[in-house]
Amino acid sequence: MTVESFAPMPLAAPAAPIARNRPLRRVLASPLTMIGLVLVAFHLSLALFAPLIAPYSISAILTDGLTPPSAQHWLGTDQIGRDYLSRLMSGGRVALLVALAGVSGSVLIGTFLGLLAGYVGGWLDDAIMRLTDALMAIPELLLIAILVLTFGKEIGSLSLIVAIVYTPGVVRVVRAKTIMIASLDFVRAAELRGERLGFVLMREIAPNLLGLLAVEFAIRVSSAILKISALSFLGLGISQPTPDWGLMVQEAMSVVFTDPWFLILPAITLSSLIIGINFAVDGLARAYGVTGTETDL
């Protein structure tokens, strides 16, 4: 604290320019956010490079069956005799890919519909919102089961299913924020100078949604990964021989009393990814002042 900082300012002094790096400094000051970011970075690089750095192929059968950890196989081998460490390292790849692709789709479609519903209003708003209400009224797992039976279990189909299931939530959030922004006078100014609908939505309103969308995207990716793992566990998602943490937990159920690490290890890796995303998003959202997202998934 210095005395100079309280010297009377000249009249109509310009507002101090807002320091651009202030939010970033706040992020770096928060240990939870840093833990989150490190975990996310770790998992992303693992997903990208697992096939290159894994000691063995994920499908090679190397032993007669279940073996405990050893010098050759640090985490042992699974029931079929495949290297468990290699499979664990690759276990998040498909779920992450499906979640990223599906949630990207849902954010794109949801933003488009949410902007239209929130800004245009009237019957279009009614139609879009009743449609999302209808989708949200179906119990989620039941909806997913129906969609899986309809579209199948390939990566593309699963991504489409994720996109369908997550779109209504995005629509609601974007619509609410759009209604708020549409009431501001800069939107009025754009209308008064005769801007087209597309310009008002994409150039005037959408840029103000970016922070919200970034948080929405990350939060829903974390939720989607959990959901895909649950599906795989139930046999509705990713299937053999693709390694997947949800599937690995399910396979380990039969040996849980004799070899519990087969269950605990994929559970820990899955949790660390989810926790990482959530911590990172929480910190970033707070630092950049994004509020009003549906963090209660």
């Binding site: 309280f6 109509a12 202030r22 706040r26 019957w123 501001l184 009025r188 008064l192 100078r193």
Partner: protein
């Protein structure tokens, strides 16, 4: 004799975003004798509310009392804790905050909230509690207390809510009452009555009063002593009359000079015999409430605007004045084309202007421009000033990006902003600068008609005064036709050639500036003028300690 209220060397600090400790109030010392009325005045961010709240040992989250002391009588206020502090607040010292809506809980009736406080602050029980609450409501001039006690906060008017909060403050018969901008959200005529109530109450209780406001007129009407704050520092304090008549500090002088007054000189008259540019005939409008059913409209409610006719000559400014809900902004929205579906006709230069902006011709959209009330809301926070100015220019004139950029810089210059502002974003500008950008955007379109909707009401007084001078200069230079909308008669008096008074959607009076201000023909206009504090001719109230006309206290 020892002082009743004594603030000694008080510094209040808070941690800013970067985690550094900054002082909101620095080394403040104030002494007040019992029954004195103190006005704390300053512009936004001056620390006036923070200082006032310290009298109840209250700070906002993250702030703390760094050094100094606050005493009420012999009590060390900042040392109070727990139960003692709770009894002190609302008992010996009471607070009336700015927004009565947020200080009343929405789920309880007014009566129930008052009774709860009566039980807390007095020894009354049973039926006596209810009776006491009703007597307080009567005391604060709430009509029909029995009925109003059963109402919820959202069911009564803003003035009534503020009276209810003042009633709550009186329960403990406080010896110190702190009021933090209690009338800022109220209309002028309502404000005058609430101020009268505050003055009466203070006299009754013999309490010491601390009144925080950015409005020097209010402070002058109510207070015998004044503290002027700027950037957390008390830069001047003393007897009210002395400060108003002979301010000892340059900043105080500029504050007093900037007070909007009705008895200012109006603008220079426009060129004689200029043609009529805008004509509004029998303008009417009703809002449709949503019916609750999709695809169906509910029947219209009471008309928002009813049979408004007015005309404007080229180069003339029409001041449109009225209180909230008078329909003045609706007039602006209809003429600008932000709202469609009106009755009657709007004619600009002999051409009928119709419907929403998108139905109008490109040229017509350019010819009518609007400046909005809240400059932050009017500028897209995601865009730079350059983007904000260039886009309309390209649309209106079909300019190339380079030409539009050049024209944008010229427009900024007319508003006395340098070209370096082109790369800034709205949030990096002060309120006054934001509003200048708003004006630059409208003026760059070279409009025939400029509509200004409450353009100065979000600004501090000194900035407001600058803004008005700039407006007058530009209006004169361009011989621009303007509709200037405001709730503030002093602002209207400064800029208008003619004045129209709106109440409840109806045109009460329209005429030349001087005739409306000096010889109003309508009773409502007279009430507005009286509530604006100072009569044009001055005189009759000047000697009274409280310059609020008695006709308003009913």
């Amino acid at each position: 004799m020892s002082a009743h209220v004594k603030i000694n060397g008080l510094t209040i600090t808070y941690r800013d975003d970067a985690g550094e400790e900054t002082a909101a109030v620095r080394d403040a010392t104030i002494e007040l004798a019992r029954g004195e009325t103190l006005g704390i005045v300053g512009e936004s961010g001056s620390g006036k509310s923070t200082l006032a709240r310290s009298l109840l040992a209250h700070t906002r989250a993250g702030a703390r009392f760094a050094t100094g002391s606050v005493h009420l009588g012999d009590t060390d206020v900042l040392a109070l804790e727990g139960r003692d502090l709770r009894r002190f607040r609302g008992g010996r010292a009471a607070m009336v905050p700015q927004n009565p809506m947020s200080s009343l809980t929405p789920h309880m009736t007014i009566g129930a909230q008052l009774e709860e406080l009566v039980r807390l602050q007095t020894d009354l029980t049973g039926r006596a509690v209810h009776a006491h609450a009703l007597s307080l409501m009567e005391r604060t001039g709430l009509p029909d207390p029995e009925l109003l006690a059963r109402r919820y906060p959202h069911e009564i008017s803003g003035g009534q809510r503020q009276r209810a909060v003042i009633a709550a403050a009186l329960i403990g018969k406080p010896e110190l009452i702190v009021l933090d901008e209690p009338t800022t959200a109220l209309d002028k005529t309502v404000e005058a009555r609430v101020l009268q109530l505050v003055a009466d109450v203070q006299k009754d209780l013999g309490a010491t009063l601390v009144y925080v406001s950015h409005d020097l007129n209010v402070i002058r009407a109510l207070c015998s002593r004044i503290v002027v704050m700027k950037d957390g520092v008390i830069i001047e304090q003393g007897d009210a009359e002395r400060i108003f008549n002979a301010p000892g500090n340059a900043y105080t002088r500029s504050l007093i000079h900037a007070i909007p007054r009705i008895d200012v000189e109006g603008p220079l008259p426009p060129a004689a015999a200029s043609p009529i540019q805008l004509e509004v005939r029998n303008l009417g409008f009703s809002y449709h409430r949503p019916s609750g059913f999709p695809f169906r409209k509910a029947p219209a409610t009471r008309p928002t605007l009813d049979d408004i006719s007015l005309s404007l000559r080229k180069g003339e400014t029409l001041g449109l004045v009225g209180e909230s809900g008078s329909g003045k902004s609706t007039v602006a929205s209809l003429i600008a084309g932000a709202v469609s579906g009106h009755e009657g006709r709007i004619i600009l230069d002999g051409e009928v202007v119709s419907g929403a902006a998108r139905k109008r011709s490109r040229d017509m959209r350019r010819r009518i421009q609007m400046v909005f009330q809240d400059p932050l809301s009017a500028l897209n926070p995601a865009h730079t000033v350059e983007e904000i100015l260039v886009r309309p220019l390209r649309l209106h004139f079909g300019l190339s990006p380079a030409a539009a950029r050049e024209k944008a810089a010229t427009a900024l210059q007319e508003m006395e902003l340098g070209p370096e502002f082109l790369s800034r974003r709205p949030r990096q500008l002060s309120g006054g600068q934001q509003q200048r950008v708003g004006f630059a955007r409208a003026l760059a379109a070279e409009p025939d008609l400029l509509i200004c909707d409450e353009v100065t009401s979000a600004l501090d007084v000194t900035i407001q005064a600058n803004m008005l001078s700039l407006f007058l200069k530009v209006q004169r230079e361009r011989a621009m036709t303007c509709i200037f909308i405001s709730h503030d008669l002093a602002v209207i008096a400064r800029v208008s050639h003619r004045i129209a008074v709106l109440e409840k959607g109806q045109l009460r009076e329209i005429g030349n500036r001087d005739s409306v201000l000096h010889t109003p023909s309508n009773a409502y206009t007279r009430r507005l003028l009286a509530a604006a504090g100072t009569h044009l001719r001055g005189g009759e109230d000047e000697t009274a300690s409280l310059r609020i006309p008695q006709s308003l206290s009913a």
